[in-house]
Symmetry: C2
Subunit: 368 residues, 2 copies
DNA sequence: GTGAAAGCGCTAACAG
DNA sequence: CTGTTAGCGCTTTCAC
C-alpha cells in the first residue's frame, strides 16, 4: 500500500508506534496505557488515549499473543446441534467467557465425525487457546484410542468424565443423575408402582446419567426396573417409543430424558387413547420454552445451564490465570423440578401392589 | 516465559526451527511443508513431517497471523439465545466455516445490551478476524448512531439490511417475506376471508420481514389487513396473544411468526374452546423438531438454515480470499411449506357464537 | 514514571 | 528445489 494519506482512516491500520508518535511518548508507554499498567501519569494516559482514538488505533492481537504467549481466548467444543440443551449451554458459556475478558473459539463435534472430540480439541489447540470447555465427548471409543489427546491447557469438562489428559481438569454440571433421581422420586411419591424410562441415546453421558439416576432410585425403593426404551432426543423418537409403551397396561408413569421426547411420547399416548396424566404421567427434562404450553403442560426438570457455565468457567479462568495454584472447589447447582399438569397419581384400576394410590401424595413438594 | 519451571521435562512447545534442526533442513522448508507449498521434494517433506510428529510440533497461529496479516478466522455475531432459529443458523455457520479451513470466533449480542451489534463487531475486530457474519442487528438505533461501525473486512449479513460499512457487504437469507407470503397465500387458498398475524418482536428484521410478507399478500388479494398482535417469540407470548384472539369470532386463520408462539397460541385457543383447525387454522414458522408432534401437528414454514449458511459463507470466503474481485452472485434458497394438521378450510359462516364480534380491531389491548 | 533494545515464531521476498 | 535475510506489532527485560 502506497500513497495512504492517512486521512479518513484509509490504508494500513495504525500501530502503537503511530499512536506513540502522535502522543509524543514512547511506544512502550502506549502499551502501558492499553494494558492498564501502573506508573503512567494521568496526563500521559489521557494524551495516549486521545491519540489512539484519533487514529482509530486497535491493538493487534496476533502480536500480543505472540509476544506474551497467551491468546486470551477459550475454546469450546460444541455438539453441532440446535438441541436446546447444548445450545443453551453454549450461550451460557459465551456470556461468561466474554465477561471474563476472553474471546471464544468454537468447534463442533458432529455426530458420526470420526475425529470426534479429539479432532475438535486438536483444532482448538491448533488455533491456540488458553483453556478448553468440552461438554459431551460423544464418541468415547475414538477418544480413548487417540493418544494425542494430551492437552497442555486447563480443561473444563461439563457433565461427563474427562476425555483428555491435561495439567488441570475441572468438571461441572455432573448432577444429572441427581436430577433424574428427583424426577423419579416425585413420580413414586405420587403413588406409581414403578416408573418407566424413555432414555436418550446412550452414547451421551447426559443420557446415561439420567438413566443411572432413574435406575438407582427405583432400586433404592425396591421397585421393578422396567425395560428401558431408548430414543435419540427427538420428538419423533419419543413418539415411536410412545406407541410401544401404550401397548403395555402397566405403564402409568414415564420419565423421559428430555422434553422433546416427552412431547412425542405424550402425543403417541394420546393417540392410543391413554390420557395424560389421568392414565399415564409423564415427566420431561430441560424445561424447554414450550414445555409449559403444550397439552398438557409438561412437568419437567430444569437444568441450570447458566449457573453451570458460570460456575465452571470461573474455575477454568482461575486455573488459566493461576497455573500451579490449587483449583477452586466446585459448587453444586440447584435442581429444579417444575411440576405442571402432565403428572398425577396413577389410575385406581388393576391390582394394587403396595397400598393405595393416594398415600404419598402429600409427601412430595407441590407445584410452583 | 524463559524462566518457566521445568514441567515434566518437555519444557516449552517446539518451534519450527526445532523441527528444522531435527530434520536437517532450514526453517523455511518446514514452513513450506506445513503450508503445502510446492517445490519440496517428497523425501524432505517426509523427513520434516516425521520430525514434527516426533516433537509434537504445532504451528503457532499467533506468529502466523502476525507475519501474514491474516488470522484465518471468521467472526460471527450471535443472538445470545437458544432460540431454534439463531441456534440452527450458528451451527450451520460453524460447520461451513470449519469446512473452509477457517476458525470461528463467536460473540453475543444480548438483547438490552447497549453496545449491541456495534459492540459485538468491535470485539470481533479487536480479536482479529478476516470476515464477519451478522444475522440480526437487533438494536438498530444504537447501530446507526455508532459511527465506529466502519469495518475493514468483508461482512456477510444474514436476513437483514447491513448495519455496517465495509469494503464488501454480502447478504443472504433475506427470503423471509417470500416465505411469509407462501404461508399467507396457502391460508387464503384454503378459503379464509383473511389471515391474522401473530408477529415477532419488531426489533427483529426476521419479524418485520414476515409481517411485511403477510401484509403485502393480504393487500395483493384485496383482503382486510387485521390489526397485528405482537409477541416476543416465546410460547408464553403466543399464549397471551391467543387469549386475545380467541375473543374475536372473525379470527379463522392465524399466521404466527414462529413455531413457539404458534404452540402457545394453539393452547390458548384450545382452552378458550376454539378448536384447531376446525375453528381456527394456525401456521407456524421454522419447523422446530417438535412441530410435528404437538397437538395438532403444526403446519409451518421450514427455514433452510444450512443452505443459507453454506451459500452465504461460500461468498464470504470468496470475498476474503479474492479482495478486489467481483463478489459471487447470491442464489436463493428454497421455500418449504410443511402442511400438517393445524390448518383447514374455515368453518361455515355462522352468526356470532360467543356474543362478541366487533372487537377484533379495536379491543385487542383491553386484556390484562 | 518513562524509554531503548531484544525478541516472540512465523511468512515474505529474494537469492542461490 | 532450498536457504537467507527481514520484518509483522507487540510485550519484556532492564536502564534511566
Amino acid at each position: 500500500m502506497t500513497g495512504g494519506t492517512g486521512r479518513g482512516g484509509s490504508s494500513a491500520a495504525p500501530r502503537s508506534v503511530d499512536v506513540a508518535r502522535l502522543a509524543g511518548v514512547s511506544q512502550k508507554t502506549v502499551s502501558r496505557v492499553f494494558n492498564d499498567e501502573p506508573y503512567v501519569s494521568a496526563e500521559v494516559r489521557r494524551r495516549v488515549l486521545e491519540a489512539a482514538e484519533q487514529l482509530g488505533y486497535r491493538r493487534n492481537n496476533a502480536a500480543r499473543a505472540l509476544a506474551s504467549g497467551r491468546t486470551r481466548s477459550i475454546g469450546v467444543v460444541t455438539l453441532g446441534t440446535a438441541l436446546y440443551g447444548p445450545a443453551s449451554l453454549l450461550m451460557g458459556v459465551e456470556r461468561v467467557v466474554r465477561d471474563t475478558g476472553y474471546a471464544l473459539r468454537v468447534v463442533n463435534t458432529m455426530e458420526g465425525d470420526p475425529a470426534g472430540v479429539a479432532g475438535a480439541v486438536d483444532s482448538l489447540l491448533d488455533q491456540g487457546v488458553d483453556g478448553i470447555v468440552i461438554s459431551e465427548p460423544i464418541d468415547e471409543e475414538a477418544t480413548r484410542r487417540d493418544a494425542s489427546l494430551r492437552v497442555d491447557v486447563p480443561v473444563l469438562v461439563i457433565g461427563a468424565p474427562s476425555p483428555v489428559t491435561a495439567p488441570t481438569v475441572l468438571t461441572a454440571g455432573d448432577g444429572a443423575d441427581l436430577m433424574a433421581r428427583t424426577a423419579t422420586e416425585y413420580l413414586l411419591g405420587l403413588g406409581h408402582a414403578t416408573v418407566h424410562h424413555l432414555a436418550g441415546p446412550q452414547r451421551w453421558y447426559a443420557a446415561r446419567d439420567r438413566l443411572e439416576g432413574w435406575r438407582t432410585t427405583l432400586a433404592a425403593h425396591g421397585r421393578d426396573v422396567p425395560r428401558v426404551v431408548e430414543g435419540d432426543w427427538s420428538a419423533a423418537s419419543g413418539y415411536a417409543a410412545g406407541r410401544e409403551l401404550a401397548e403395555a397396561d402397566d405403564v402409568t408413569a414415564v420419565f423421559a430424558a428430555n422434553d422433546d421426547m416427552a412431547i412425542g411420547l405424550v402425543r403417541a399416548l394420546t393417540e392410543a387413547g391413554r390420557r395424560v396424566p389421568e392414565d399415564v404421567s409423564v415427566v420431561g427434562f430441560d424445561d424447554i420454552p414450550v414445555a409449559a404450553f403444550v397439552t398438557p403442560p409438561l412437568t419437567t426438570v430444569r437444568q441450570p445451564f447458566d449457573a453451570v457455565a458460570q460456575e465452571g468457567l470461573k474455575r477454568l479462568v482461575h486455573a488459566i490465570e493461576n497455573p500451579g495454584a490449587d483449583p477452586l472447589p466446585p459448587s453444586d447447582p440447584p435442581v429444579d423440578l417444575i411440576v405442571r399438569s402432565s403428572t398425577a397419581p396413577p389410575p385406581p384400576r388393576t391390582t394394587p401392589r403396595r397400598g393405595r394410590r393416594t398415600v404419598s401424595r402429600s409427601a412430595e413438594r407441590s407445584g410452583p
